[in-house]
Symmetry: C2
Subunit: 500 residues, 2 copies
């Protein structure tokens, strides 16, 4: 059996290696590749991805997993080996249940879908996109059916991003969250608008870069095992535990955007840098799920980066970097400015108090589309009604409404809820961290993050993808994902800022 | 047969794609990879290289090549398809004749060999390296024997870099070249030493970068299909015809080094950028051989870049960039300075008049080692004797002598002669180009390179690796590689500079 295990590990290591090569091809494409390289790059990526898929779904892999299945029961269920075999078997089963024809058709339809979406968005014409989205939904329902029996038709999609999680769980969480978050927003909306005009004047790029680097260096981002480059959209990617890179972008008139995005990506990257070295070259050298990943990025961006304690230490440094822009802005004014709440149309520009509402809206629509209780043609109308209901604003155009996100055109259903779940997990962990590190606020106000990072390494990072998200959150906090900590966090913070 | 051909092309395209992925992994390793990434990178590279080798030497590939062999005879021998099948069959045969055990043993021995060489060089102790080189030579002789019958034991090694070329041809060329080059050098050595002290003062990096970019942009290096980055040793690498990148390095006290190296690498890169698009995703999207590749880099670096006409246009621009360093240096002084001849110990620092002598020495030793007429233990002594004979200088240490180059420790026998052959080819092409573009000097003196690049595209670049080097050179110049044009070039140039 030891021999089989070694053979399995060797094979999965090669699959992981190919995935890493793919990641580097992608990173380069988005950072340094000259324009002309696109055609060749597409071919190379297709070949590498194809070989990786072929290897992963090979008969050899299937046989090894079958042979190793009884062996798992003899192992400590929390051991690296047990987790590796179980997780690989789960992914293998998902991969092999989907016929090659479906994969090819899906690739074709979503490629055309993304082109149509771009056109539709540019022309503000939902009808251009509608037939494509209908086809995508058809394929997504067919996809779910490969995994019958299921509790809910949305489950197989959710499972792709949150292994083991059920639609019913997410619904229950969001049902508890929604009314409270809507109520909070109404209370805030009744208060005077905060002035954040000082954030919308030019900040020179090098200063933004330097300040961001200073912040994440203090966080504990390891530059010996990572680097930062520029790209059109910020992202994090890794080519092994010891090479996890982030990117950022600069908009001179929106300095806060680059700064918080740098903290966000560093949060993702520190997670992957913190995975135990024993998981090297396995699929477990990764985050537990999208939500847990997002909990790390959001924690550093929001719970740390938008806190009073954080700016107690960093604001004087920021003013020193940008005296012309901030010399006359008090720390309190700045703090309120970066935490300004304003119901808006666009998800990616949403603040902490409104963000989850954008997500819940999308999840409800995705579920209804999958269930068949909502027709694609009715989407714009339902979208706008829900926007009014949750956020109190109605998009004047579909471009600022149902057409704003790329996800659906690429068939990425099941992904949106992970953003909101990530917020919830971040707050749930945050409460536990405060119990374990009582003087955390003080440490943060002194620019010290060692204890926080150590806690995250110990409780979250080192495990990589060994545990399903709900299992991990329960191990650490004592309960599965709950909405209350996030609501408590929001209410506490905004009560003070807005005098609720 | 058309179906078989398509299948073959698909398979070889995937092998090429994997090679391109490997190249990107290598580029990143030498430019941007954080230090910590080394272990993971080694694994990824091993997996990708292994799969590529497996695919290339697969039974499927062998069967397809066997089936396509008779088909080749029905094709125009100069057609892309005929060349592709022939070249692939040649490489396949070479790859499959070498047993896996030899490959593994060679990898092991040369890895240890390189470590030992570094130690030996640092300690200036040839004895540390000797047993490793003995083992390398043993393996290299075994390698040659896989290709029996051969005319000469060195032939299979040479063929790895110069397909189709024989040791006897190279020997004949070098035997004609050596006495003439030694004589020229003696004449120069009798003349007063040229002052080039202005090249050995600080030149700021950004100015060096900008000037180099200006030069190669005018050469015709296509930035839409390439880019330049920094690395410890300059190199050129490509990820497709439309993404060929160069690197450079800067030494503030040796400005000429970066400048000429940039031109050199751009010469390599323009070659690959100029390959016909019909050869995309084939092994023919490459140079014809190392020597032909080197002919391109040397042409732009030396025949163009160290010429009087070139500096007629560029020197005023360089002075404008570096007025403090060059304001009091005349164009003539500068031209003589960058063409100063000085017999020296180190190959990579050698000038045009001495460079080939370093190479001939190495080739003679390699051949003698392969023939068994020279023992590894006697190398230092023979090295020093030949240095005295050819260059008139004797290394005071082995570090500056037989231990200077990395090549042998990695088993790279057969590579050195390509450097000198490249010089010869560059001059041979240059004479033909002057016949076809009579006012070339004038164009260069006006900073115009379109006609030159067009000529190279048409006669050399577009063909990629379709033809063996000797075939290509003969097609273009009417004869195989000859030493005379290079001697004529050197004598013409240095007669004027040194008043011979």
């Amino acid at each position: 059996m030891q021999e089989k295990l070694e053979k399995f590990k060797q094979l999965i290591a090669q699959v992981v290696d190919l995935g890493r090569a793919e990641a580097l091809l992608g990173w380069d494409q988005l950072t340094y590749m000259p324009r002309g390289g696109a055609e060749d790059r597409g071919n190379i990526l297709e070949t590498v991805a194809g070989l990786s898929h072929e290897m992963f779904t090979s008969k050899e892999m299937g046989d090894l997993l079958t042979e190793l299945a009884p062996y798992v029961d003899t192992l400590d269920p929390d051991s690296d080996d047990a987790c590796l075999i179980k997780r690989t078997a789960h992914d293998y089963e998902k991969s092999t249940k989907v016929p090659t024809e479906w994969v090819a058709e899906f690739a074709r339809v979503t490629t055309l879908g993304q082109i149509a979406w771009e056109e539709a968005k540019a022309a503000d014409d939902f009808e251009v996109f509608r037939p494509h989205l209908e086809k995508v939904m058809e394929l997504r329902r067919a996809y779910a059916d490969f995994f019958k029996p299921y509790d809910h038709v949305y489950d197989p999609l959710l499972d792709d991003f949150e292994p083991g999680m059920k639609t019913s769980e997410v619904k229950a969480i969001f049902d508890a969250l929604r009314p409270q978050q809507v109520r909070l927003l109404k209370e805030i909306a009744a208060k005077p608008v905060i002035d954040d005009s000082f954030l919308h004047i030019p900040y020179e790029e090098q200063g933004q870069w330097d300040f961001g680097v200073d912040v994440i260096t203090r966080f504990g981002y390891d530059w010996n095992r990572g680097r930062q480059d520029k790209s059109v959209h910020p992202f994090t990617t890794g080519f092994g535990i010891d090479d996890v890179r982030i990117t950022t972008r600069f908009d001179p008139e929106r300095a806060a955007s680059a700064l918080f995005s740098t903290m966000h990506e560093a949060g993702h990257a520190m997670y992957e840098q913190g995975v135990s070295k024993t998981l090297r070259r396995t699929p477990l050298a990764n985050g537990a799920s999208m939500a847990v990943h997002e909990s790390q990025s959001r924690m550093w961006e929001n719970l740390v980066g938008r806190s009073k304690a954080f700016w107690q230490f960093f604001y004087p440094r920021l003013v020193k970097q940008f005296p012309a822009q901030l010399g006359n802005v008090s720390q309190e004014q700045f703090y309120r400015g970066i935490n300004k709440v304003e119901p808006s149309l666009i998800r990616v520009e949403a603040d902490e108090a409104t963000y989850n509402l954008h997500i819940m809206l999308r999840l409800e629509l995705e579920i209804a589309l999958m269930e068949g209780s909502l027709q694609v043609g009715d989407l714009p109308q339902v979208w706008n009604r829900k926007m009014e209901e949750y956020l109190g604003v109605v998009p004047p155009t579909n471009r600022e409404g149902v057409l704003q996100d790329v996800h659906w055109s690429g068939g990425m259903m099941g992904y949106f809820p992970t953003y909101a779940l990530g917020n919830l997990v971040s707050a749930q962990l945050w409460e536990k961290i405060h119990l374990d590190i009582p003087n955390l606020e003080k440490q943060i106000s002194e620019g010290k993050f060692e204890d926080l990072l150590h806690w995250l390494r110990l409780n979250i990072h080192q495990h990589g993808a060994k545990f399903e998200p709900q299992v991990l959150v329960k191990r650490v906090t004592g309960s599965t994902i709950q909405p209350e900590p996030y609501i408590r966090y929001l209410r506490g913070k905004y009560s003070e800022i807005y005098n609720l």
